[in-house]
């Protein structure tokens, strides 16, 4: 659906996107993750032509964005809704008028507009706030209005630019659940840009990690978190603190394995004591995944590794 090939972008002489290639599938929730200045918002803005790119190719439904004329680009943007970190609502218009604006500009009839706006208001759960002004709403409510506005023209794709970054954790979860509902109910592809790992874990099926305009990781979300590579670890800012005597073995729990009491079973069956020195469990897309580091004596290495291999567990010595 969104096809990006060897995309490059420069601001003057600074390279902000470096050879980025990704394919975003229809119907998925795709996250672009990175620290500030990593180029993630720029990459997203290339998708709806708010920014242009220097070379490479970016096609949405087979259309090359850089080749669209100004008029065609306007028309094309009807197909891509967008929401923003600071909501970007018109302060002097009511909730109804804000949501109605895109349809008004595209010349829909009053009747169509009223029907659509009311439908969307109940979808986002703001039926009662029809005539409120944005400054009478909470952050979460403002974002709901913005989401409704982004959906008025029946887009196939919804772009979310740090849409939850200005919200508290509970509101973030509520908004993410709404996005999930929209994704499932309306079958809208969602591309979200965020610097919050929690957001990625909660909704994204696949994620792309950007650093200085380079892709440093690209995988299913579960894979990324289950078995993070060096760069990902650095990105997450976590390093294990483990003893420097004996042997440290890291055992990964893919989603099906978590609660099979592997560790205690191993201790019992091998009749061996070891220390659990590090561990982490996480909920990703409602699955629990995690890893644990055990510290064993040097002479037990063979036995333990043999046992682990037998049980088809992902592991590494660190």
């Amino acid at each position: 659906m969104i096809n990006i090939q060897k995309l490059n972008k420069f601001y003057n002489t600074t390279k902000v996107l470096d050879n980025v290639s990704i394919d975003i599938q229809k119907g998925e929730i795709f996250a672009i993750v990175g620290h500030s200045g990593a180029g993630k918002s720029t990459l997203m803005r290339c998708i709806n032509g708010l920014e242009d790119y220097s070379d490479g190719s970016l096609k949405v439904n087979g259309k090359e964005i850089n080749e669209l004329s100004k008029e065609n680009l306007r028309e094309f943007r009807k197909n891509i809704g967008m929401i923003f970190q600071h909501f970007s609502l018109i302060q002097r218009k009511t909730v109804f008028e804000n949501i109605a604006l895109p349809m008004q500009l595209w010349g829909y009839s009053k009747k169509e507009i009223s029907k659509k706006v009311n439908e969307l208001l109940s979808l986002v759960g703001l039926d009662t706030k029809l005539n409120a002004f944005p400054n009478e709403l909470s952050g979460g409510q403002k974002q709901r209005v913005a989401i409704a506005r982004a959906l008025t023209l029946d887009p196939d794709i919804l772009l979310s630019d740090e849409a939850t970054s200005a919200l508290d954790p509970n509101t973030t979860t509520a908004i993410l659940n709404l996005l999930k509902t929209i994704n499932e109910k309306l079958n809208i592809t969602i591309v979200l840009v965020t610097h919050e790992m929690e957001v990625v874990k909660q909704v994204a099926q696949r994620a792309l990690l950007l650093e200085h305009g380079n892709i440093i990781g690209f995988d299913d979300t579960e894979e990324l978190f289950l078995k993070p590579d060096e760069k990902m670890k650095e990105f997450l800012g976590e390093t294990e603190v483990v003893p420097n005597v004996g042997i440290n073995i890291k055992i990964y729990f893919p989603k099906d394995n978590v609660f099979q009491s592997f560790i205690t079973k191993m201790a019992r069956e091998l009749d061996m004591d070891f220390d659990i020195v590090w561990g982490k469990l996480e909920e990703i897309n409602t699955h629990i995944v995690g890893n644990m580091v055990i510290n064993i004596k040097n002479e037990h290495k063979e036995k333990v590794l043999h046992y682990i291999k037998q049980h088809n567990i992902i592991w590494e010595v660190i």
């Binding site: 943007r77 009807k78 600071h86 609502l89 018109i90 218009k93 500009l105 982004a150």
Partner: protein, 212 residues
């Protein structure tokens, strides 16, 4: 005394309202061109922007009394004579229009960039972004700008006496200063204070009801 003050008040109101209206129309158009062509504007064009910038700054640097004299030929061409109340409207308009342009430009500049970007994201045209988004959002500031302009023009119009434009300022000089009629001078000043007060209160009220 009333037979002197009332016509003068009429002339001041007439000159100020007409010139402010014309200045707002011209200034608004200029402000839109400035916003469109400014850096990162919807139709960025450095040549047009810098040219306009220089013209506006030049007009704004003229002392008003000098501007009136410089504009004599133009006034004569447009009105048919270069003195009188109606003739004073031309320099007042040309003096105030660049001022309005700057005020409205900054009012439009204040509009949240994110709102403009959102409008682009749902396919609004440049025309729609300016008139249906930016002007709507900036309306309270534009009202403040017009209020400020009207009051400034009332002040400028006091100098219109120099070209036979009449008005309250003219009375204050002719009767109050040259003929030592202190009471006449006092009355004109009081009327001017009341006039400015009324305009400002009305402007504040309109600002309040449009600001959400």
């Amino acid at each position: 005394m009333l037979d002197i003050l009332l016509p003068a008040l009429g002339q001041t109101v007439y000159m100020s309202l007409i010139s402010t209206t014309l200045a707002v129309i011209i200034g608004f158009a200029l402000a839109i061109v400035l916003i469109l062509t400014s850096k990162d504007g919807l139709r960025e064009n450095q040549t047009i922007y810098s040219m306009l910038d220089v013209v506006i700054n030049t007009l704004r640097s003229f002392p008003f009394i000098i501007l009136m004299i410089v504009l004599f030929p133009l006034t004569k061409f447009l009105i048919g004579k270069s003195i009188g109340t109606t003739a004073a409207i031309i320099p007042l308009t040309i003096g105030a229009a660049p001022f309005v342009a700057r005020l409205i430009e900054s009012a439009l500049k204040e509009v949240d960039k994110g709102v403009v970007e959102a409008a682009k994201s749902f396919g609004a045209s440049d025309f729609q972004i300016i008139f249906k988004v930016m002007c709507v959002e900036a309306l309270p500031s534009i009202i403040s700008a017009i209020t400020l302009t009207l009051i400034t023009v009332i002040g400028f119009s006091a100098m219109a006496g120099a070209v036979g434009g009449g008005g309250l300022g003219d009375i204050a000089i002719k009767y109050g200063y040259y003929r030592f009629q202190t009471d006449t001078m006092m009355y004109t000043v009081i009327i001017l204070i009341a006039l400015v007060q009324i305009v400002q209160s009305l402007g504040d009220y309109l600002y309040k009801i449009t600001k959400k």
